[in-house]
Symmetry: none
Subunit: 189 residues, 4 copies
Amino acid sequence: MARPLSEEKRQALLDAAAEFVANLGTAASTAKIAKAAGVSEGTLFTYFPTKDDLLNQLFLEIETDLTETMLAPYPADDSAKERLFAVWNRLIDWGLAHATARKALRQLKVSDRVTVESRNRCHFMQRDARTLVEECLAGHAAPGRIAFYIDTILFDLADISINAVTAKPQESDAIRQAGFDLFWKGSAA
Amino acid sequence: MARPLSEEKRQALLDAAAEFVANLGTAASTAKIAKAAGVSEGTLFTYFPTKDDLLNQLFLEIETDLTETMLAPYPADDSAKERLFAVWNRLIDWGLAHATARKALRQLKVSDRVTVESRNRCHFMQRDARTLVEECLAGHAAPGRIAFYIDTILFDLADISINAVTAKPQESDAIRQAGFDLFWKGSAA
Amino acid sequence: MARPLSEEKRQALLDAAAEFVANLGTAASTAKIAKAAGVSEGTLFTYFPTKDDLLNQLFLEIETDLTETMLAPYPADDSAKERLFAVWNRLIDWGLAHATARKALRQLKVSDRVTVESRNRCHFMQRDARTLVEECLAGHAAPGRIAFYIDTILFDLADISINAVTAKPQESDAIRQAGFDLFWKGSAA
Amino acid sequence: MARPLSEEKRQALLDAAAEFVANLGTAASTAKIAKAAGVSEGTLFTYFPTKDDLLNQLFLEIETDLTETMLAPYPADDSAKERLFAVWNRLIDWGLAHATARKALRQLKVSDRVTVESRNRCHFMQRDARTLVEECLAGHAAPGRIAFYIDTILFDLADISINAVTAKPQESDAIRQAGFDLFWKGSAA
DNA sequence: TATGAATGAGATTTCATTCAT
DNA sequence: GATGAATGAAATCTCATTCAT
């Protein structure tokens, strides 16, 4: 069965793409990405039929990673607040640990080369994560606003907070706490 | 002799650039922008020596407009909360009224073609706006967190809220209020 | 040990090639041809060392088929005219029955990827067919022009007539007859 | 009004295209064509927005030239046959004088990159030429077959004859006459 | 023998910028 | 100053062919 497609190469391409997209946006050239991944220009297209495919796969890969991170088991916490804080910290930690992926994601989110379908698929994938947060907010926030808090605020607020931590790493804990406090107190019924 | 360049053409170029950058990002071509502005390809470069210049000027122009909107006189309100709510509403209203400019701004903010210098200049330009908010938050928020709330949270939260309003215009008032509540309650000491 | 290459696959490749060359000319890609033939890209090259080989083989295969069709036994006719009309009808029938092959042949004939050697070999192969026609024309056409009528006119005129029949199938018989009449009367001494 | 498009360059591009298409078919590369025309690769696309445009323009240009050649004034001849022979000679002469254009035309005719619209436009353009021939054939050929003789046979027969003349230039006159005789006698009612 | 991943040259097209008019 | 033709580097993608499996 000839040489099989190498998962290693696929990953190297996605990694290289993340790196370049983070800095150059979707204008990052396939030639540079292929070279950085250590494969020839043509090979990129055996793994991703078009550049847009590569970008969309990259988008989904990063979002998947973030979602899985959020859903990894949590210690059995007592209070809803503590559970949500754990989630919040996961978000912040992920962002700090995946600075490049996060930058790439920002670029991809504003690009119309990431299709509506990719965005929808991503939204669907995150339904468990949303449920997780929902359970933490039930009984705390006004029921009519919970959807707004989750879909609109939480992730972006985390994003903002990560930016702030990245800019001032020495104030990491304070910012992390301030961001969470804002969300928790702000969302109280 | 005064500058013989036509302010009208300059503005037409910036407007056209906003339109295209909003949709295509910084990949928008100078040829298309020039055509949409009703001038020739070459003329664009007599007004903006390079494409990066155009992009940076566009960035500054939009931020300037937003800042001036925020600083326009407010009715003498009693409470800090009411004053801040007025500011908040200005932000939301501006965003709704300048959808294209806002989309362009999002693209520009994530592009490294907008220089650090432009970003700094913008930050400096907004010092009065920050002071305005600072005065509203003094006595309400914890002093140590005020800078964080202003520099990091407020504008991005407004941005997020505008997105939400744009997505569901019929819930405009509710979202507007929910966003403000979150910020106000969340930032309380 | 006999040749282990599968004649079946070879034929599938030639058939697929005919199909694609008919529509895309010699720009038809080996990958598409292989896929349509149900074999892998690499396998094509075990049957035909280069793409040019494939094209030349295809050319020869089609011409061979056409030639054999012409040479299949004829009913013992009386007149030379009737015999030639039978040949003529064979040509037309073959063209109608092998539309794809004919289209492919047209493309191949104008391509310089079909070598002079292939063309010569083809010419040599058709010597019996030419003799057949020669015998029909002897005593009818001027001796000095017979070669011209056969080598230059007859096949191309048949080709033209097939085109016309294909374009207006309902007038098939009329066109067929008109074409033959033109040749027969036109070639009379 | 800046530099105007240069008719000279446009023509150089078409000439270079004819040259390469004649030999390589539509696979002739735009880079080679541009270089041969003495302009940069990019310039080709200011004159022809796509390669297909170039090919279609080339097709139309050659057909136009051929048509105009056919329609140039003829000496007032007596007989229909003499008039038609004059037309025939024009066709042959044109083909001999424009060997490259003729080869290019053959390639273009079998390519599906030349659109139906171009072919239709060409057919429309040649209506006067068809009328000219029609008048020669009226009273000579069977009325029901005249369309067939003109639309299908005449031009292709001339093409065939030119091929033959090109292959054996020393027999030019004989072939020329033989071809015409075939058509004239063959088309007699 | 069969497979299909890998390759890199080459194809078409776009684009920021220059410069003749 | 305004124009838009000219440029050639660079971008995405295709393809015949090779070769590890």
